[in-house]
Point group: C2
Chain length 143, copies 2
DNA sequence: GCAGATATGACGAACTTCGGATTATTCAAT
DNA sequence: ATTGAATAATCCGAAGTTCGTCATATCTGC
């Protein structure tokens, strides 16, 4: 198979860099004081998997449980997360989002969608499916 | 102009997520103990702009100067960065990479290129320029 | 020369990650 | 039932980070 040229690689890399730099600054979005990345990931995971425990999150994110414990602690303290003792196994904790936390998590999902929408809008309608197809191929192709 | 469909947005978002998750774990690469993100960015900036000062880096990265000072301090202490007092303005410091730092920085550039190369290799040769073109359009289009 | 701007560095407060010990439970095997 | 190992989560504290405030050296224009 033909190899990509150095020029192609460089052009692509430059474009990604430009994109990232541009939309990092525009990132913050809403008013609330920004959460750190781990807390956001935690929130999003609990949104998708209600009633899971710290261990599940740790396994998913590939981080030590104590780190997740700190994160859930912060989030609980700021009222975005609730810890429920569950019957059946009283060691375990079932994490759930408070209304506030859910709102916050949904707003992150919304921001993510907006970013993706914006990207697609910059392409001609006819190009969009081709682009999505290529990104999909890149993301899921086996080695 | 036709709007992207919710389905298109979701598919694209899922692909990006899969991609990021997949290549975050494979990330570390070489043996050396990994630098934190700020230190890497600092190294790369100095590679591209030798003899610049902390203030330049701070402006470029949009961070407080003191933060950059900490970073250059760490890098100098671990022998990747040299501070030179420059004639002409003796307040200023000219930052340069040591041989070790340059090696390190180049290895990051190389890793970045490899990632981009790998992405292109997953596409058919005929698709590559189209992909690069779309990404370029997305990255640089004015609003 | 001097006042005020400028480039850095020193210091310390607040916050994070994460290893090691601790507590509470459950499970397994006698 | 009893005990010993495994398991879920948290507590505690060390090490490292960001970044505001203050101090220091140096320029620059009047």
């Amino acid at each position: 198979m033909t190899k990509p040229t150095a020029d192609q690689i460089a052009t692509l890399g430059a474009a990604f860099e430009a994109f990232v730099r541009r939309y990092k600054l525009a990132g913050a979005g809403t008013s609330d004081k920004p959460l750190n990345e781990l807390d956001v990931q935690t929130l999003l995971f609990v949104l998708r998997h209600p009633d899971s425990g710290p261990t599940d999150i740790a396994r998913f994110l590939g981080l030590p449980v104590t780190t997740i414990s700190s994160a859930t602690d912060r989030l609980a303290k700021s009222g975005m997360l609730e810890r429920h003792r569950i019957e059946g196994d009283r060691r375990a904790v079932a994490l759930r989002l408070s209304e506030d936390g859910a709102k916050r998590a949904r707003s992150h999902v919304e921001a993510y969608n907006s970013l993706n929408r914006m990207m697609l809008e910059r392409l001609a309608p006819a190009e969009r499916d081709a682009f999505i197809g290529m990104v999909t191929k890149i993301a899921y192709d086996e080695d």
